[in-house]
């Protein structure tokens, strides 16, 4: 297609952000309105990725490639396949919902808030769509800034701590990835003489297993922190608790997916041998994450923290699926990413709704909410069910496929992970019971107002998705499966290709220097 669709997709939010930022600071209504319009328009622009994507067609679609920094061999290379297309759609949908959801929540400097939200969207889309490692890294890192500001400016009590922690922790992980990227770049250069950061080129480059291990570790650290996997997760609760609702939604729904996406797109295909060697360790961490996250979530006194830890648990499933290294696992993992985006996003919105009304998130401050807020409670119920993976909701499809894939690789993995399913039911239902059931314990909860029309509008699409993806997931699976199978084949092929390559140093041959003299 001639029209640079993806570029438009990535940069339109920036234009929108500029537009919003130029509005007068006091025109709150106009700001909200325009932000919403932009977000919805972006959503509309992203729809072709659903309609016009040809899943079976190998290679990238909607591809664009231009010179960027020829001196470094970096190119502006965008492209989509079944995997990224779905994640892009997730991003646009959730951003639109977050924007609408934040209408009344943000009364302080809404202009800047919405502008940053749109900038963030651009960053995320860029990350999912860029096929040049340097470009990817630029988006990956640049996207920290708006999120950091969102948390730090519009957050809660300890927002600064949380924001800085988020920024530093994520960055600490990614700088090593940068080193690894450069390393790859020079490996490529030494091996083929080609100077490029292009992903396709790296897909063709055999890498010695020993080298792979180091590079994999660097990449994996960056992604594991983003996911977040078990020992690297502590930034998440802080960030979530402090972030404004919209921030939490985006953070949970999309940002975390970048980690898993990174594994799927880069770590596994680029370093198959290393991935294979590391699989047991990664899976162990993933399973620990599943159980640990669930356990810790169980005893959280704060709703948001509970949901945050549940994310740790859910993302554990994603990682498990990825490292099952078979197509069911992959598909389940990707489904789980989408599910988690929808369900947890909805959960955070729900917590936001109630926080807006009561300005507290402590479970102890609630109880018996079903009576004053029946609609709210019912929505909450459905979302919760999807989050604990009840069949018929989206959550089940993902979890089931992940577990199936895991079982086929190693039954013990599946057994351990499946016990997480029990725990998830435990902490979620317990929370639900304490918040919704029983008599109304606090007088101020008596006269809470139920979901407003706008809020219902916000939740309607989410509920729709929950049911649709649960009852008829095949359209999604059809779109992702071919791409996933290709990824799988690619990594297997590369594993064979690199199996007996000798590691080589990066030092330039002396002749190189002489030539320059």
């Amino acid at each position: 297609m001639t029209f640079p669709w993806l570029t438009w997709l990535v940069f339109f939010p920036l234009i929108g952000a500029a537009l919003v930022a130029l509005l007068p600071a006091t025109a709150h209504r106009a700001v909200r309105l325009w932000a919403t319009v932009v977000a919805l328009a972006e959503l509309a622009f992203s729809l072709p990725l659903w309609w016009r994507l040809v899943p079976a067609q190998p290679g990238w679609q909607f591809e664009e490639r231009h010179r960027w920094i020829p001196g470094l061999g970096a190119s502006y290379h965008l492209g989509a396949d079944g995997i990224s297309a779905l994640l892009v759609l997730l991003t646009t949908v959730l951003t639109a919902i977050a924007v609408i959801g934040a209408w009344t929540a943000v009364d302080k400097r809404p202009r800047e808030f919405f502008a940053l939200l749109l900038v963030l969207e651009a960053g995320m889309l860029g990350t999912f769509l860029s096929l040049d490692l340097l470009l990817f890294y630029v988006f990956w890192e640049a996207m920290l800034v708006p999120m950091y500001l969102l948390i730090g400016v519009w957050g809660g009590q300890r927002r600064v701590y949380a924001a800085v922690k988020f920024f530093l922790y994520t960055m600490a992980g990614s700088v090593l990835m940068l080193v690894a990227i450069l390393w790859l770049y020079f490996l490529q250069r030494n091996a083929t003489g080609i100077v490029t950061f292009d992903l396709d080129a790296f897909y063709r480059l055999p890498i010695a297993p020993a080298t792979q291990m180091w590079l994999f570790l660097a990449f994996a650290l960056a992604f594991a922190i983003k996911v977040p996997m078990f020992p690297f997760h502590t930034w998440l609760p802080d960030a979530h608790v402090e972030a404004p609702t919209a921030g939490s939604v985006i953070l949970a729904a999309v940002l975390l997916k970048m980690g898993t996406y990174g594994f799927l797109r880069f770590a596994i295909p680029l370093f198959p041998n290393a991935s294979h060697t590391a699989a047991p360790w990664v899976v162990t961490l993933a399973i620990i994450g599943i159980l640990y996250g669930a356990l810790v979530a169980m005893v959280q006194p704060d709703l948001k923290k509970l949901v945050a830890y549940s994310s740790v648990s859910h993302l554990g499933f994603c990682m498990l699926g990825l490292y099952a290294m078979n197509v069911q696992g992959f598909a389940g993992s990707l489904m789980q990413m989408l599910n988690h985006g929808v369900s947890t996003g909805a959960l955070f919105l729900l917590v936001g709704v109630i926080y807006e009304r009561r300005h507290t998130r402590a479970i102890a401050d609630f109880g018996g909410l079903w009576k004053p807020l029946p609609v709210f409670a019912s929505v909450f119920l459905v979302v919760m069910l999807s989050s604990i993976g009840l069949p018929g909701t989206n959550g089940f499809v993902g979890e089931f496929l992940v577990l199936l894939g895991a079982f086929r690789t190693n039954w013990a993995w599946a057994a351990w992970a499946a016990s997480g399913v029990i725990l998830s039911a435990l902490y979620m239902l317990w929370m639900f019971q304490r918040v919704m059931f029983g008599p109304v314990t606090h007088a101020e909860n008596e006269k809470l107002s139920d979901l407003s029309g706008r809020e219902r509008l916000v939740f309607a699409p989410l509920l729709l998705l929950i049911v649709w993806m649960g009852v008829a997931p095949q359209p999604f699976l059809d779109r992702m499966t071919p791409a996933l199978e290709r990824t799988l084949e690619l990594s297997q092929m590369r594993a064979v290709m690199s199996a007996n390559v000798k590691p080589q140093a990066l030092e330039t041959a002396p002749a190189d220097v002489e030539g320059a003299r």
């Binding site: 960027w68 920094i69 020829p70 001196g71 470094l72 400097r109 800047e112 340097l134 890294y137 630029v138 988006f139 890192e141 640049a142 920290l144 800034v145 950091y148 500001l149 730090g152 400016v153 927002r159 600064v160 924001a163 800085v164 920024f167 530093l168 960055m171 600490a172 700088v175 090593l176 940068l178 080193v179 450069l182 390393w183 770049y185 020079f186 140093a505 990066l506 030092e507 330039t508 190189d512 220097v513 320059a516 003299r517």
Partner: protein, 488 residues
């Protein structure tokens, strides 16, 4: 006087020498203008200096293609020279713009100020352009003397004067070492001309001759002082804090770049043969410089001091490129220096807007809430900080990518890893600035910002460059790579 007629002595390309002459002329004009009384609040000093710089720039630019060696190879006009000359001229120009209103506000008498600024610029250019230790020494002294005075310019202020004293005493101390080093090198190689020295070093079994080793070492020390590399850095925070902010901005960018220009010429050109033996040494210095600079900055609440330490750290990064050596290393250093100068000038420049009357001190907490009250200032400062921290899409990021990439290619893996981790540490204190800007509320009445048209121009210019080199680094990259071809 037949000497002057002798053509073989002066194959002068006047445009190649244009910058030097333009600056000298401008300097004289400035001083002479003092004879005519200026009406109060006139900006003629600034205007004249800008014109001078423009002229200098124009002439150099016109001769950018030419490669000349003047005065028996003492002054070379090659890509390296052009690059640095233009860099210094633009640094000076930005400094002038920042100073325009500042000097009026703080009642610094302009003529001398700008005269000194021009002369120290001249000194820097000489350092970069000279291919002879003597001229390097003279250029360095020219620059330093002017800077000593500028640092102590507001002599009625204790800080300013103290800063000048420290800078001066240690500077003189350092130039003592430098000179001794030159002397020994002269003795060891029989020449002070870098090219001949390089030739000699190349074809003699080296590392062995103690004279050369000690000489090179002391020379290194002298230059390391100028670029404020650990452990010769301790003057930096004090001098930077005490100096008038514009001067700080100017020296933090210019003096450092000039020091590196000389360092590159000496280490990578004259002593290229020995460079191999110095790898570990330089690496250790680089690591120390990065780490000490960043870690010390962590707890600073005084912005100027914090930035001073950060400038130390950045010197460390450039040193990594020096360690990497080779044409790549040199070009990476050039690239990074250009980027660094712009963003650092921007950062310090913003501080010049904040100085409250005579109180030079600007604490991080003074920025509280400014981000939203003055959006331009907020965005600019934020971007400068991000760039210093090496966050895309800013010039700082590209600089780091290129620099660390080169180092990696040279096999300096540990160095690179330490470097990137350092940049993470640095982000911590750079973020503190943004925290103050956007996330804290002013306790007392907010700091007022002294806007002025020239300052805004400078701000926008640095901002534009910081972003432009962040998203489209290609041209600068090519420039840097082409500039070092003549050198090595």
């Amino acid at each position: 006087m037949n000497v002057f007629a002798a053509p073989h002595l002066l194959p002068v390309d006047w445009f190649a020498l244009g910058a030097v002459m333009a600056l000298s002329a401008g300097l004289l004009v400035l001083l002479l203008l003092e004879l005519l009384p200026a009406r109060p609040g006139s900006s003629r000093g600034a205007i004249v200096s800008l014109l001078t710089l423009a002229a200098a720039g124009a002439s150099v630019f016109r001769a950018r293609g030419a490669a000349r060696s003047l005065f028996g190879g003492m002054f070379v006009h090659d890509g390296f020279t052009v690059f640095f000359t233009l860099l210094f001229l633009s640094i000076a120009a930005l400094a002038v713009l920042w100073s325009w209103d500042y000097v009026k506000r703080t009642r610094i008498n302009q003529a001398e100020y700008y005269a000194l600024l021009l002369s120290s610029t001249l000194g820097m250019i000489l350092m970069a352009a000279s291919n002879d230790l003597i001229t390097i020494f003279l250029g360095l002294e020219l620059m330093s003397l002017a800077l000593y005075v500028m640092v102590g310019f507001r002599r009625s202020q204790l800080e300013s004067n103290e800063a000048a004293l420290k800078y001066f005493l240690l500077g003189a101390f350092a130039s003592g070492f430098l000179l001794y080093g030159i002397a020994l090198l002269y003795g060891a190689t029989g020449t002070t001309n870098l090219t001949r020295m390089a030739a000699f070093v190349a074809d003699s079994p080296l590392g062995a001759n103690p004279l050369l080793v000690i000489g090179g070492l002391l020379l290194l020390v002298g230059l390391a002082f100028k670029v404020s590399a650990v452990p010769f850095h301790m003057w930096t925070p004090d001098a930077y804090e005490g100096a008038p902010t514009t001067v700080t901005a100017f020296m933090s960018a210019g003096a450092k770049a000039a020091g590196f220009a000389a360092l590159l010429r000496v280490v990578l050109h004259a002593l290229a043969g020995v460079h191999a033996h110095w790898g570990t040494l330089l690496s250790v210095i680089a690591v120390l410089t990065m780490t000490v600079g960043n870690v010390s900055a962590l707890l600073q609440v005084n912005l100027k001091r914090m930035l001073a330490y950060s400038s130390i750290a950045h010197a460390g990064y450039v040193l990594v490129a020096v360690v990497a050596g080779g044409p790549q290393g040199a070009s990476a250093a050039l690239f990074y220096l250009a980027v660094y100068s712009v963003m650092n000038l921007g950062a310090f420049g913003v501080l010049t807007l904040l100085g409250r009357g005579h109180d030079e001190r600007v604490n991080v907490s003074d920025l509280n809430g400014l981000g939203f009250r003055h959006p331009l200032l907020g965005i600019a400062l934020t971007l400068f900080m991000l760039s210093l921290g090496g966050i895309p899409p800013t010039a700082g990021f590209m600089g780091k990518v290129y620099l660390f990439g080169v180092a990696l290619r040279a096999g300096l893996v540990p160095l690179v890893i330490i470097g990137v981790l350092n940049s993470v540490v640095s982000v911590f204190y750079y973020l503190r600035v943004t925290v103050a800007l956007y996330m804290d509320e002013p306790k007392s009445e907010p700091t007022q910002v002294n806007w002025a048209a020239p300052a805004v121009v400078a701000l926008l210019a640095s901002l534009a460059l910081t972003l432009w080199w962040g998203v489209a680094a290609h041209d600068l990259l090519m420039q840097a790579q082409r500039s070092v071809v003549g050198l090595l």
